[in-house]
C-alpha cells in the first residue's frame, strides 16, 4: 500500500485538471463528483497507508517513494519524492479528511456561484499542493508545495475578483508570504551547503554532528521567518485577517485547518535542528506566546464574524508555536489536529450563518439565530466550548498540555501569556456566540423573515466536525489524567529525539533543569511530583475559561449596555483594539509608502536627475508619466554617457586601490 502514497496528492490534481479543462461543459453534479470524489479517494488512500504504517515496527514506520530525480548536480541529487511516516500520515489524514468535509460543504455554499467549476479547480489544486507539502521527503518538494498553497490561497482569496478589496487582499497575502519565503529559501541554501542534501531524514540524521549550534540557530531562525509568514505570526500575521475576503469554505480549509499550519508542520519536521538551537526555540516560543495574546485581544473588539475567527486562528497558531518552542512537538501537532476540527467547524458554521443571513457578516446585525438555524447553532456552540478549553472536549487536552509543557519546561513567561490568552479566547468566542445566536434580533430590514437554515450538504459536515471536536482530543489524553496518550506515542519515532534534545537545551537556556528532565523521562506526562502542579494548573485554566464565559454571558446576555459603556469609558483602549493596534496603518506608512517612495526616488534619481540633468528633469517626469512619446533628446544620451563615464572612473579607482603603484 505504501508504494501508492503518491496517489494521495495526485488524485486531487487529476480532479483539478479535469474540472479546470473541461469542467465548464459539465453539469454541476459531475463537477461535484469529480471534486469531492477525488479528495475522498485521497482520504481512503491516506487511511489505508495509515493502517499499513501501524502494522510496521515503530522504528520502521517510514516509507519513501521517489517519482523522479528532479535536480541532479554533481554528486547530489534532489528527488521529487514522497515520504510517509507517522507525522505526514497525521497531516494527510487531516488535510484529506477535513478537506473532504469542506468540499462537501462547498457544494451547498457555492451552489449559486457562476464560476462553480473554477472554484473546485482551485480547491483541488490547493489540496494537491498541500499534500505535496506534507508528503515531500525533502525541503525543496516541501517548498514547491509551500509556494503552491500560497498561490492557490491567493487565487481563492481573490476568487470574487470583481471586488477590488478582495483582489488587494490576495495580493497582500502573496507579498507578505514572500517575505517569509525569503527566509525559507535562505535556510534551504544553508542546509544544502552544510549537508549536501535536502532530504529530511538524511539532514536530521546528520544534524547533530554536521553543524554547530550557531549554524543551527541561523537556519532555524530563517526557517521560522518562513513559518511566521505562512502561519501568520507576529510580525507577518497581517495578511490572514484580510484573507477572509475569500469564500468562507476557503477560509475554513486554507486559513484555519491546513495551510496556515504548514509552518508548525515544518518546524515539527525539523525538530532535531530546532533542538540543537535553544535560542531559536526560545524565540519561537516567545513569538508564539505574544501572538496568542496579541491576536486574542484584537478579536475582542471585532464585529465581523469572520474577522473574529481569523484573529482567533492567529491566536491558536500562537499556541502551536509555543508548543514547538518548548520542545513539545507532538503536543503542538496534537493541537494542530484538534484546531483543524473545531476551527473548521466554526468557520463553516459562520459560513452557514452568512449564507442564512444573505451575506451579512456584521454580528451587530444578527442575534437570536438559534431560532432559525438550530443545526448551525448546535454545532457552533459545541465547537465554541471546544475552543474555550472545557473538558472533555478536544482543545482542553491539547491546549492544556501545551501550557503545562511550557510551565514544566521552565518557560514561565510564555506560560503566563498563553494562560491569559486562554481566558480571553473563551470570552471573545462566547461573545461571538451570544451576539449571533442569542439576544434580540437586530436584523436588517431586507433580511427579516428570510433568515433560513442551510441545506443538508452544509450542516452534515458541521455535525461530523462537531463530533470530531468532541472526541478528537481523546486520542491524546495525557497520562496524568489516566489516558494512554496514543497520539504522542504514534508520533514518537519522528519527534521524540528532538523533544528530549530540545527540552534539555531549552531548559539549560532558561536555567531550570529539573522539570524538563522529568518531562524527557515521562514523555509528556511529567513526573510524580509535578502531577499536583499539573492538576492545579488544569483546574486554574478551566476556571479561568469559565470566568471568561461567564463574563461574556454577563456582558452580552444580561447587561447588554455594559460593552458600549466600557468602550466609551476606556475609549483609548477600545479604539486601539478595534483598529487592531494600527498595525496595518503602520506597515502601510513605513513599508509600503516607504518602498514606493524609495523606488520612485531610485528611478527618478537615476533616470531624471543624473541622466537628464536638472534642467530637463521636469520635462522628463511629465513625459515618462504621460506615456513616453519621447522626443529625441541628446541631453539624455549625454547623461547616460556621463553615468557610464562615472562608473568607469569608479571602477578604475577601485582597481587602482588594489594595485601596488
Amino acid at each position: 500500500m505504501l508504494d501508492w502514497i503518491w496517489l494521495i496528492p495526485f488524485l486531487p490534481m487529476v480532479g483539478a485538471i479535469i474540472n479546470g479543462t473541461v469542467g465548464r461543459r459539465f453539469p454541476k453534479w459531475a463537477v461535484n463528483i469529480i471534486a469531492c470524489g477525488s479528495i475522498f479517494a485521497a482520504f481512503v488512500v491516506s487511511v489505508a497507508s495509515f493502517i499499513a504504517l501501524t502494522h510496521l515496527d515503530p522504528s520502521q514506520r517510514f516509507h519513501e517513494v521517489t517519482l523522479f530525480s528532479w535536480i541532479a548536480t554533481g554528486s547530489t541529487s534532489i528527488d521529487l519524492a514522497y515520504l510517509m511516516d507517522p507525522l505526514s500520515s497525521v497531516m494527510t489524514l487531516i488535510v484529506t479528511g477535513v478537506g473532504f468535509l469542506i468540499h462537501v460543504y462547498s457544494v451547498g455554499y457555492m451552489h449559486h456561484d457562476s464560476s462553480y467549476n473554477r472554484f473546485f479547480t482551485y480547491m483541488n489544486l490547493f489540496c494537491f499542493a498541500m499534500l505535496t507539502l506534507v508528503l515531500g521527503n525533502n525541503f525543496l518538494v516541501l517548498f514547491v508545495g509551500w509556494e503552491g498553497v500560497g498561490l492557490c490561497s491567493y487565487l481563492l482569496i481573490g476568487f470574487w475578483f470583481e471586488d477590488q478589496e478582495k483582489a488587494k487582499a490576495g495580493m497582500k497575502a502573496f507579498v507578505v508570504n514572500r517575505i517569509g519565503d525569503f527566509g525559507f529559501l535562505l535556510a534551504m541554501f544553508f542546509i544544502f551547503m552544510h549537508f549536501g542534501t535536502l532530504n529530511f531524514r538524511e539532514v536530521m540524521a546528520a544534524a547533530p554532528t554536521a553543524i554547530t549550534a550557531a549554524t543551527a540557530t541561523l537556519i532555524c531562525l530563517l526557517l521560522f521567518l518562513g513559518a511566521c509568514g505562512k502561519s501568520a505570526q507576529l510580525p507577518l500575521y497581517v495578511w490572514l485577517p484580510d484573507a477572509m475576503a475569500g469564500p468562507t469554505p476557503v477560509s475554513a480549509l486554507i486559513h484555519a485547518a491546513t495551510m496556515v499550519t504548514a509552518g508548525v508542520y515544518m518546524i515539527a519536521r525539523c525538530n532535531i535542528l530546532y533542538s540543537m538551537a535553544p535560542g531559536a526555540m526560545a524565540t519561537v516560543a516567545t513569538v508564539g506566546a505574544i501572538t496568542a495574546l496579541f491576536a486574542g485581544t484584537i478579536a475582542i473588539a471585532q464585529n465581523d464574524i469572520k474577522k473574529v475567527l481569523a484573529y482567533s486562528t492567529v491566536s491558536q497558531l500562537g499556541y502551536m508555536f509555543i508548543a514547538m518552542g518548548v520542545g513539545a512537538y507532538a503536543v503542538g501537532i496534537f493541537h494542530l489536529m484538534t484546531h483543524a476540527f473545531f476551527k473548521a467547524c466554526l468557520f463553516l458554521g459562520s459560513g452557514s450563518v452568512i449564507h442564512g443571513m444573505h451575506d451579512e457578516q456584521d454580528m451587530r446585525k444578527m442575534g437570536n439565530l438559534r431560532k432559525y438555524m438550530p443545526h448551525t447553532y448546535r454545532t457552533f456552540l459545541i465547537a465554541t466550548i471546544a475552543i474555550a478549553g472545557i473538558p472533555p472536549l478536544a482543545a482542553f487536552f491539547s491546549k492544556d498540555e501545551i501550557l503545562w509543557m511550557a510551565w514544566s519546561g521552565g518557560f514561565k513567561a510564555q506560560w503566563a501569556l498563553g494562560f491569559l490568552a486562554a481566558g480571553i479566547t473563551a470570552f471573545y468566542m462566547f461573545r461571538l456566540v451570544f451576539m449571533t445566536f442569542f439576544g434580540e434580533e437586530r436584523h436588517d430590514e431586507h433580511v427579516k423573515g428570510k433568515v433560513h437554515e442551510s441545506p443538508w450538504t452544509m450542516y452534515v459536515p458541521l455535525y461530523v466536525l462537531m463530533g470530531l471536536s468532541i472526541v478528537g482530543g481523546w486520542v491524546g489524553i495525557p497520562e496524568a489524567l489516566g489516558g494512554a496518550n496514543h497520539f504522542h506515542h504514534w508520533l514518537a519515532p519522528v519527534l521524540d529525539t528532538g523533544s528530549m534534545e530540545g527540552a534539555r537545551h531549552a531548559a539549560a537556556l532558561v536555567g531550570d533543569i529539573g522539570p524538563s528532565a522529568a518531562y524527557a523521562s515521562g514523555g509528556g506526562g511529567g513526573g510524580e511530583g509535578h502531577s499536583i502542579i499539573e492538576y492545579i494548573l488544569m483546574f486554574a485554566s478551566v476556571g479561568w475559561a469559565l470566568i471568561g464565559i461567564a463574563f461574556a454571558a454577563f456582558c452580552y446576555l444580561k447587561r447588554t449596555d455594559i460593552p458600549a459603556k466600557a468602550a466609551a469609558s476606556a475609549k483609548g483602549v477600545y479604539e486601539l483594539l478595534y483598529n487592531k493596534y494600527y498595525v496595518d496603518e503602520i506597515y502601510d506608512a513605513v513599508f509600503v509608502k516607504g518602498l514606493v517612495a524609495l523606488s520612485n526616488h531610485f528611478w527618478k534619481f537615476w533616470d531624471v536627475v543624473v541622466i537628464d540633468g536638472a534642467a530637463n528633469g521636469l520635462a522628463k517626469v511629465v513625459r515618462a508619466t504621460g506615456g513616453g512619446l519621447a522626443r529625441l533628446q541628446t541631453g539624455q544620451a549625454q547623461g547616460y554617457a556621463l553615468a557610464v563615464a562615472i562608473g568607469t572612473v569608479a571602477l578604475l579607482a577601485f582597481f587602482a586601490a588594489h594595485a601596488t603603484l
Binding site: 528532479w70 544620451a637 577601485f654
Partner: protein, 482 residues
C-alpha cells in the same frame, strides 16, 4: 600556428548562419521588394543546420585558428541558447512584421548576422576576436532597433549606437592595456603570463585593463551604472527586437564575460570579484526598485532584465564550475521566459499602438485565457517561483554563491527576488482582477508562428522547472570542458 582546413569544422555553425543570412539577403534583393514570407523558413532552416553543426562540433574540444576560438561543450551550450533565441525571435516576428508592414528579409538577415556574432563571442578565446564578434553582434542590433523607423525606434537606435560605441572604446582600451601588460590577447596565454610574471596580478596596468574590460561587458549586459540606455532602447525598439536583445545579447555577453574572467584572470579574482560583487548588488537592487515604479510593461521588462543581469552577475562573481552551470541554465531559461513574455506583449498590441500600458492588460485573463495563462507562467518564472525554470536557475546560482561563501550576496539576491514578485504579480493582477474596459480593442495579433513560439516557450519553462535534470547535466558537462 597557421590556418588549417580542419579548423573550419569548428566554425561550421557560424558559417551555416552566415550563409543563410547571405541567402536571405539575396532572395530579398532578387525578389524586388515583394513580400517574402519564405525568409522566415529559410532562416529557420539555417538555424536548424547550425544546430546540427553545433551538435557535431561540440565533441571537438579544442582550440582552433591559432588559439583564437574554442569549440567545446561550453561554446556548444551557448550556441544552442543563441540558436534557440534566434529561432524563437524569428517565429515571434513573423506575424508582427507583417502586421507592422515591415516584412523584409533584411530583418532576418540582420538577426542571423547578429547571431553569428553572438556565437563567435561564446567561442572566442582571444580578446580581439571577442571584441570583433561583439561589434558584429552590436552593429546588427543597432540597425534592428531602428528597423521600424518610428521616432522612438530611430531614437533608441541612435542612443544605443552612440553609447555602445562609447563603451566599446573603453573595452578596446582595456584590451590594449592587457596586451601591454601581458604581451598577448589569447586568454590562456594571459593566464600563463599572470602565473609566470611576478607582481603582474597587482600591476596597475593589468588591473586597469580588467576594469575597462568590465565596463564593456557591463554595458552590454546592462549592469548598473552602465544601464541607462536599456529602458529607452527596449521601449523604443520593435518588441520582437527587444526580446532578441534582452535574451541573445545577454547570453552572448555573459558567455564571453564568464569564459574570459574564468580562464584568463583567476589570479586577480579577489579584486574583480569584489568589484563585480558591488556591481551585481547595485544592478539587481536598482533594476528591481526601478521596475516597481513602472506602469509600462515593456519598460518594466526592461528594468527587470537589468535585475536579471544582476542575478547573472552573481554567477560571474562566484566564478566556479557550479556557478557557470547555474549561469548557463539561467540564460537558457531566461531566453524562454523572456521571449515568451514579449510574445504575449506582441499579441496584445495593435499596429502602430503597442498597448503596453498596464491598463491595457486589464481583464485579459478572461478574454484570452490561454494567453493570460502563458503570460502568468512567464511572470512566475521571472519572479522565481517554483516549479518554473526561473526558480531552478536562481536556485543553482545562489547555491553556487553560498557554496563559495558569498553569503551576503546570496541573501541580497534572494531578498531582491522576493521583492521583485510585486511588479511581476501586478501584471497578473491586472489581467485577472480588473474589468476589461469597454473600449478595449478586439482580437489578438496572433498567428501560427507566434503561437508555436509561445507554446514552446511555455512548455520549456515548465519542463525546465519540473525536470531540469537533463539540462543541468548538459550544462555541467559543458562546464567540465574548460
Amino acid at each position: 600556428m597557421d590556418f588549417q582546413l580542419a579548423d573550419l569544422k569548428l566554425i561550421a555553425p557560424h558559417i551555416a548562419l552566415l550563409g543563410t543570412a547571405l541567402l536571405v539577403l539575396m532572395v530579398e534583393v532578387f525578389g524586388h521588394g515583394r513580400r517574402r514570407p519564405e525568409a522566415t523558413w529559410i532562416s529557420l532552416l539555417g538555424i536548424g543546420i547550425a544546430a546540427a553543426a553545433t551538435g557535431m562540433s561540440c565533441h571537438e574540444n579544442r582550440l582552433g585558428f591559432s588559439g583564437m576560438l574554442a569549440a567545446d561543450g561550453y561554446s556548444a551550450f551557448c550556441n544552442m541558447i543563441i540558436l534557440i533565441v534566434g529561432a524563437l525571435t524569428i517565429l515571434v516576428s513573423s506575424n508582427y512584421l507583417k502586421d507592422e508592414r515591415h516584412e523584409h528579409g533584411e530583418y532576418h538577415a540582420l538577426i542571423l548576422l547578429s547571431m553569428t556574432g553572438m556565437m563567435f563571442m561564446a567561442s572566442a578565446t582571444h580578446l580581439l576576436l571577442m571584441f570583433l564578434a561583439l561589434e558584429t553582434m552590436s552593429i546588427a542590433i543597432y540597425a534592428l532597433a531602428g528597423f521600424f523607423r518610428t521616432k522612438e525606434g530611430v531614437e533608441s537606435c541612435f542612443k544605443y549606437f552612440l553609447l555602445g560605441a562609447f563603451s566599446s572604446a573603453f573595452m578596446l582600451y582595456g584590451i590594449a592595456l592587457i596586451y601591454g601588460a601581458t604581451g598577448t590577447t589569447q586568454i590562456h596565454g594571459i593566464m600563463e603570463q599572470f602565473t609566470q610574471i611576478k607582481g603582474l596580478a597587482s600591476s596597475p596596468m593589468a588591473l586597469s585593463g580588467i576594469a575597462l574590460l568590465i565596463v564593456g561587458f557591463a554595458f552590454k549586459v546592462a549592469a548598473f551604472p552602465f544601464h541607462g540606455w536599456t529602458p529607452d532602447v527596449y521601449q523604443g525598439a520593435p518588441t520582437s527586437v527587444t526580446a532578441f536583445m534582452a535574451t541573445g545579447v545577454k547570453a552572448a555577453a555573459f558567455a564571453a564575460f564568464f569564459r574570459i574572467f574564468f580562464v584568463a584572470f583567476p589570479a586577480t579574482s579577489p579584486v574583480w570579484s569584489q568589484a563585480l560583487w558591488l556591481l551585481a548588488v547595485a544592478t539587481m537592487t536598482m533594476g528591481n526598485f526601478a521596475a516597481l515604479a513602472q506602469r509600462d510593461v515593456k519598460r518594466m521588462l526592461a528594468y527587470s532584465s537589468i535585475a536579471h543581469a544582476g542575478y547573472l552577475l552573481v554567477g560571474v562573481v562566484t566564478a566556479t564550475a557550479a556557478a557557470g552551470t547555474g549561469m548557463l541554465f539561467y540564460l537558457l531559461s531566461y531566453a524562454f521566459m523572456n521571449i515568451g513574455a514579449f510574445a504575449c506583449v506582441i499579441m496584445l498590441g495593435r499596429r502602430g499602438a503597442d498597448s503596453t500600458n498596464l491598463d491595457d492588460y486589464a481583464g485579459v485573463g478572461f478574454k484570452y485565457p490561454l494567453l493570460a495563462a502563458a503570460l502568468t507562467l512567464f511572470m512566475f518564472s521571472m519572479a522565481g517561483i517554483p516549479p518554473t525554470a526561473g526558480f531552478i536557475g536562481k536556485f543553482l546560482i545562489f547555491k553556487a554563491a553560498i557554496g563559495k561563501e558569498f553569503y551576503w550576496l546570496a541573501v541580497i539576491g534572494v531578498l531582491n527576488s522576493a521583492a521583485s514578485v510585486y511588479f511581476y504579480l501586478r501584471v497578473i493582477v491586472y489581467m485577472y482582477f480588473r474589468e476589461r474596459p469597454e473600449a478595449a480593442p478586439e482580437g489578438l495579433r496572433s498567428g501560427p508562428a507566434i503561437t508555436v513560439a509561445t507554446v514552446v516557450a511555455a512548455a520549456a519553462v515548465l519542463i525546465l522547472g519540473l525536470a531540469p535534470g537533463f539540462v543541468v547535466r548538459m550544462a555541467e558537462a559543458a562546464m567540465s570542458t574548460f
